[in-house]
């Protein structure tokens, strides 16, 4: 285990941010730490990167206890995320060179690695421009590059795509995948379900300072009944007839949203068969549907079935999200923009 966390607790006064969290990350793997704002993700990352001292429990990185040997931990980790550590008035190159010097690389090594990373992250053309002229996507890439200059064994990425436009987001994902392919162990903190789904080997879902589920994204998805056949009923008065027509096909009771007239049939592993049978059944019952589709369950479904509320509602309950402008994620769902508060 490269990262091992057991019974980790942190309270700020009377607020319990972490209430006994356990998880572990194997070498070369990606762990997605998933949860809404205020769930405790950032607190966990801040403890693992030696920025906070835990109130209880234990956390080790590369075998070093973060509370007892913080200096040893700092030599093997990298921290990146929302580009707040970039000095906007310095150029991209200067930011990287400075980070290299602060890692105690020699002048020559710092320069060489800075140029190498600028090249690798497609920032060579902008290397002599002040970072404040960079786009959001470029800033995140620069931030990630700065965290890699010390060649860390473990990288902590705290919401690396929050606030990015969809195209830059896909670019970040590609870079992160490359990093993982080259053997870096990664702890990825995100509030985006599709991001964890896309990048992580294992996922730990945190809510209100506790781990509420963990496993691969496939395992988590199977917990909500596998594939989903989803359709809307155009004529609402025919909704119950439609539900009756497909009830026998569903592994668990179909999920019905009466307001939207939407029905979800949980198909287990037999997605395409159920789809065909549903079409027949609905046709026989004379129900007109719109948007009949088969899809794999999203992690949103997982969150819903685990907590009884969506990630967005949890965020609103934590009292931090909600007000920001929505952003259409690549997975098609809307998530609130993080307003900058730390969980």
């Amino acid at each position: 285990m490269i990262i091992e966390v057991s019974g980790l607790k942190k309270h700020f006064g009377h607020v319990e941010a972490l209430r006994g969290v356990d998880f572990a990350v194997l070498e070369g793997k990606v762990l997605g730490l998933l949860g809404p704002n205020g769930a405790g993700k950032t607190t966990a990352v801040r403890i693992l990167t030696t920025l906070l001292v835990p109130s209880g429990g234990r956390a080790t990185v590369c075998g070093y206890d973060v509370a007892h040997h913080p200096a040893a931990v700092r030599r093997v980790i990298g921290l990146a995320g929302q580009a707040t550590a970039i000095t906007p008035d310095l150029t991209g190159y200067e930011n990287l060179e400075m980070a290299g010097r602060l890692y105690h690389l020699g002048k020559v090594t710092a320069r060489r690695r800075a140029h190498g990373l600028l090249e690798r992250f497609d920032l060579s053309d902008a290397s002599n421009r002040q970072a404040k002229t960079y786009s959001g996507g470029m800033l995140r890439r620069l931030d990630l590059a700065a965290s890699l200059i010390g060649r860390p064994q473990v990288l902590f990425l705290d919401e690396p795509t929050t606030g990015l436009d969809p195209r830059s987001r896909l670019g970040m994902w590609a870079i992160i995948r490359e990093l993982v392919a080259s053997g870096t162990t990664l702890l990825l903190c995100t509030q985006y379900l599709d991001e964890a789904d896309e990048l992580a080997n294992d996922i730990v879902v945190i809510d209100h300072g506790l781990v509420i589920a963990s496993g691969t994204s496939e395992v988590l998805k199977d917990r909500v009944g596998g594939d989903v056949v989803e359709f809307s009923v155009t004529d609402r008065t025919r909704l119950s007839a439609a539900v009756d027509a497909v009830a026998g096909l569903s592994v668990t009771v179909p999920t019905v949203d009466p307001e939207a007239g939407r029905v979800q049939v949980h198909a287990g592993g037999r997605g395409s068969e159920v789809l065909v049978e549903a079409v027949r059944g609905l046709d026989a019952a004379g129900v007109v549907t719109a948007g009949l589709a088969l899809r794999r369950p999203s992690l949103d479904d997982v969150f819903m079935s685990l907590t009884g509320h969506t990630a967005e509602e949890a965020e609103a309950a934590a009292g931090v999200g909600g007000a920001g402008p929505g952003r259409a994620g690549a997975g098609g769902r809307r998530s609130s923009k993080r307003p900058g508060g730390r969980s």
Binding site: T49, G63, Y64, V76, Q130
Partner: protein, 284 residues
């Protein structure tokens, strides 16, 4: 969990290596210089900051020299301008602390120090680098003010050695005030609050002093504070150094006692506030 299980398949750490004292001391110096360079570069690239550093003190000199100066009577050889320049250099040193407090607050508010704190960088470097950069900037401002002073009639009359000592003492004053401001900035952590708070302590200390007017022109209840507060002590010493021992009777200070009292105040402030500010940085 046994440590031996931890590192399967990866490079094995022989346990936490404790760097030698020599290494750690070198890192404090090296890392502080890297941060100093960062702050000076960032400052140099924003024209507004340069204006703040250079033009504002010049305006103060001209304002007091030509607008208020005529109404202020001082028995100093060479007239008010010779009284003013050491005083205004002391006042400027006090105002330099704003950029320290605001700069630190700004970095912390943005979360900009998180990564540096997660790196093997020396803990004190961020603060020391900021103090070094601000002190060097103040030194530049002081030299600009001396030049402007010469243009409007000021001259050092105590000799080159005294002149250098005056610039050194005013720089030390700036460093000491910046140390206090650093603690305030790191403790308050809010840019606007820091700015407001800075005015509350810097204004009375710099203006209710011997910087611009002789203390005996103030009401007697104010004189006790004005005469004994540290800014007056240091400004008196600056004035004696700038104008030479012949002004000793005017400021009612002897060169040696004024200098010693100043040094005790300033070194004392640095010794007390640097550790406090370092502690506040670690917690911020």
């Amino acid at each position: 969990m046994a440590v031996t299980e931890v590192h399967h398949g990866t490079e094995v750490h022989p346990g936490p290596v404790t760097p030698t004292l020599w290494h750690r001391a070198r890192w404090v110096v090296d890392d502080s210089l890297v941060i100093t360079k960062r702050n000076l570069l960032a400052w140099w690239r924003v024209p507004a900051y340069i204006v703040f550093t250079v033009v504002q003190p010049v305006m103060f000199v001209l304002l007091f020299r030509y607008v208020f100066g005529g109404a202020i009577q001082v028995p100093v050889p060479g007239g008010y301008v010779n009284y003013l320049i050491p005083g205004i250099i002391g006042q400027t040193a006090g105002f330099a602390s704003f950029s320290t407090a605001i700069g630190l607050t700004h970095d912390i508010q943005r979360g900009g120090v998180d990564r540096i704190k997660s790196m093997p960088t020396a803990r004190s470097a961020f603060l020391l680098g900021r103090l070094t950069a601000d002190t060097l900037r103040l030194l530049l401002t002081t030299l600009v003010m001396v030049a402007i002073g010469y243009a409007v009639g000021f001259s050092f009359s105590g000799g080159a050695g005294y002149a250098v000592a005056m610039v050194a003492l005013s720089t030390l004053l700036g460093l000491a005030v910046c140390c206090v401001a650093a603690l305030i900035g790191l403790a308050v952590k809010d840019e606007e609050a820091v700015q407001a708070f800075g005015l509350i302590w810097i204004f009375p200390l710099t203006f209710v002093s011997s910087a611009f007017v002789p203390i005996r022109s103030m009401p007697s209840w104010l004189q006790a504070f004005a005469r004994n507060q540290p800014f007056t002590q240091v400004i008196n010493a600056l004035r004696v150094l700038a104008l030479g021992p012949r002004v000793e009777p005017v400021v009612r200070e002897s060169l040696s006692s004024a200098t010693w009292i100043s040094l005790v105040w300033l070194v004392g402030a640095i010794v007390v506030f640097v550790p406090l500010a370092t502690r506040a940085y670690k917690r911020a």
